[in-house]
């Protein structure tokens, strides 16, 4: 084998390995996502099948025959490519309810009667009917948190907004001070800001409940956002301090020399330049507050956050995986939207503005 050939083979092997690795990582990341998206659209019967269907049924195909107790309903199973008997009854209302709840097929009794009428002339009736893809989502909002899902969603958004506001206001100002002013104990103070993140939420749950109750903030959105802010303020301080340090003081000084007040100089010069960093902080604050469940369970009673509602769906009486998946999707969506919205600001930090 010539040397050149050997080099080529080595190169090919290297490239192949690289792409196998990348694909593996991608699959590892995307597979769970695919799983939850697909699961959230499956009907209850499909969701508990083994093997699990890869995609939800858009049009369900049925077979009706005379059964022992009345009419025998079978549904086409794409995995086995056979009709499988699911129900034998002469109660049409029961059949309609079964089809709606288990097969996600919203069909009226009249429609069933029309198909059954055909059985007088033939032994077997085949018919199909469109499924309701969003059935799980509708059910989730109806059932989860005993109908509290939508108020909880709004409450969660409110908590996130408050958390972002508090942590950006306090953390941003502190970060600016750490970046621009020299004072005694500055480094110690800067590190001590991080100490609050040392303790797991559960460990300090009892004191938190007592303190918040005394403040009158127990079971209130503002109470939770205060708790979340403590953690994200620490992060915000560190991110913004380094951002502000990267913006030369002379830019602000120039603005002051050219006629701006200190505040104008900050608002017009430093703040726009710090925007990417602030956006990143807002994202961290949002995700932290949006995803947090443990403290929320402890610190709420009648006003749960959305993450608590989803959590209850997984564990509680409702307990259907497809409903939990739908809840998870609803949970993930705002975070994804928010992240995409902030992405262009954060991107500036790495590419756009060079200071």
């Amino acid at each position: 084998m010539t040397r050149k050939k050997r080099v080529n083979i080595y190169k090919a092997a290297k490239t192949t390995t690289f792409y196998i690795f990348v694909t593996g990582v991608l699959v590892a990341m995307l597979l769970p996502l695919y799983f939850i998206v697909s699961l959230s659209f499956l009907s209850t019967r499909e969701a508990y099948r083994y093997p699990l269907p890869l995609l939800p049924t858009l049009t369900a195909r049925f077979e009706l025959t005379h059964g022992e107790r009345g009419y025998l309903l079978s549904v086409y199973d794409r995995t086995t490519q056979k009709y499988q008997s699911v129900l034998d009854t002469n109660d049409l209302e029961k059949m309609s309810i079964y089809m709606k709840y288990q097969l996600a097929t919203p069909i009226t009794i009249e429609e069933i009667e029309r198909e059954i009428a055909k059985l007088e002339t033939q032994d077997v009736v085949y018919f199909s009917h469109g499924t309701n893809l969003l059935y799980n989502y509708e059910t989730f909002f109806k059932v989860a948190g005993t109908g509290q899902a939508i108020p909880a969603l709004i409450r969660s958004l409110e908590i996130c907004a408050l958390t972002i506001l508090i942590s950006l206001a306090i953390g941003g100002m502190a970060g600016y001070a750490f970046a621009r002013y020299m004072f005694r104990g500055r480094d110690l103070l800067k590190f001590s800001v991080l100490f609050v993140r040392m303790f797991p939420g559960v460990a300090i749950a009892m004191p938190m409940v007592i303190i918040l109750a005394k403040m009158g903030f127990y079971d209130e959105p503002i109470g939770l956002s205060l708790v979340y802010s403590v953690g994200s303020i620490a992060l915000t301080v560190w991110i913004t301090a380094s951002i502000f340090m990267g913006i030369p003081v002379s830019l602000e000084e120039a603005a002051q020399v050219f006629g701006a007040t200190k505040l104008q100089a900050f608002l017009r010069i430093t703040l726009p330049l710090a925007l990417p960093g602030l956006a990143a902080c807002a994202m961290y604050a949002f995700l932290g507050a949006w995803n947090e469940t443990v403290s929320a369970i402890i610190l709420t009673m009648f006003k749960p956050t959305f993450s608590v509602v989803v959590y209850q769906t997984v564990l509680g009486a409702v307990g259907q995986v497809n409903l939990a998946a739908a809840g998870g999707m609803v949970m993930a969506l705002p975070a994804v939207i928010f992240t995409f919205f902030l992405r262009r600001y954060i991107n500036q930090m790495w590419g756009g503005v060079t200071v």
């Binding site: 002051q256 020399v257 701006a260 104008q264 330049l273 060079t354 200071v355």
Partner: protein, 361 residues
Amino acid sequence: MATLELINVTKRFGRNVVAVKSLSLEVHDGEYLVLLGPSGCGKTTTMRMIAGLEEVTEGTIILDGVDITDLPPRKRNVSMVFQNYAVWPHMTVYQNISYALKLKKMSQSEIDRIVKEVAGMTGIAQLLERYPSQLSGGQQQRVAVARAIAVSPKLFLMDEPLSNLDAKLRVATRTELKAIHYETEATTVFVTHDQSEAMSIADRIAIMKEGEIVQIGTPEEVYDKSASIFVADFIGTPPTNFMDVELVIEDGDVRLVNPYINLKLDPANAALLKDYDKKSLVLGIRPENIRLADKGEAVLSAQCLVSEPQGSHQIVAVELEDKLVKIVAPAHPKVRSEEMVHLAFRQEAMSFFAKDTGLRI
């Protein structure tokens, strides 16, 4: 345009660090004054106090008859070019220049006119819509200058505006800055640590050391009549040659004596130094005031260590026992290494400094 006056201005950082010591200075109307000194001498602090970016510990700053000591920067009617230019990266060149004008609530048409005018003056008219990140260092520097001119201030401050440019551009830009100065006739304070820059651009140079002005004068004055060893050493490349000498008066002859030289002074110098009999002095002589001579008239003969050709001239370094003496000689004939050279001093260009204080006699 205006005059600037600093009266006993002092700046202390904390309790112990004195950056500027009771500094007094007057800048005349339309004058180009350069604050020159090594790093840490307080020149930038002085400028920042004039701009209002640094609080004055003691003393008064008066601009055009108005006490501006405690005014915020925006009310002082000064403009500044920063060392790192400090052009705002999120604004276009046009926005950079017009920002100050907008704050002054000028009409849009007037702003347009002024921006076009100063952009033309600084040669950036075609760059107005660009962002600073799309400009070279030299262009950013022009934007900073244009921005400073646009507000037509009473006083122009420049904090080492050329130090971030490469050597060739620096020389070209300083010529342009001076041309712009002739055009605007703005009173200007310019800070630099580069003595050749200061020499070429200044009407007057104030040389600072450890928070104090050690000499202030025209470039010629500070070069030819340096007030101290520090100034004579700091100004000029290569710097002044110094020699410790003893003054001896014998039979009416005034002579400078040390292990290498025994020089009879001319009448002018002799008169100047007649009270220093048997005292130690420091003789300072600039490299171009030593010439290669015949053996007969030589004050000093020694071996050449190296010769550095500069095209128009050559710099000859001669090694005495413990120090180098540098001479600026004509390019021809070329002096070779280890060649014996004979040196004569131009007596009228010699300076004498007291050994203890370092001050000029």
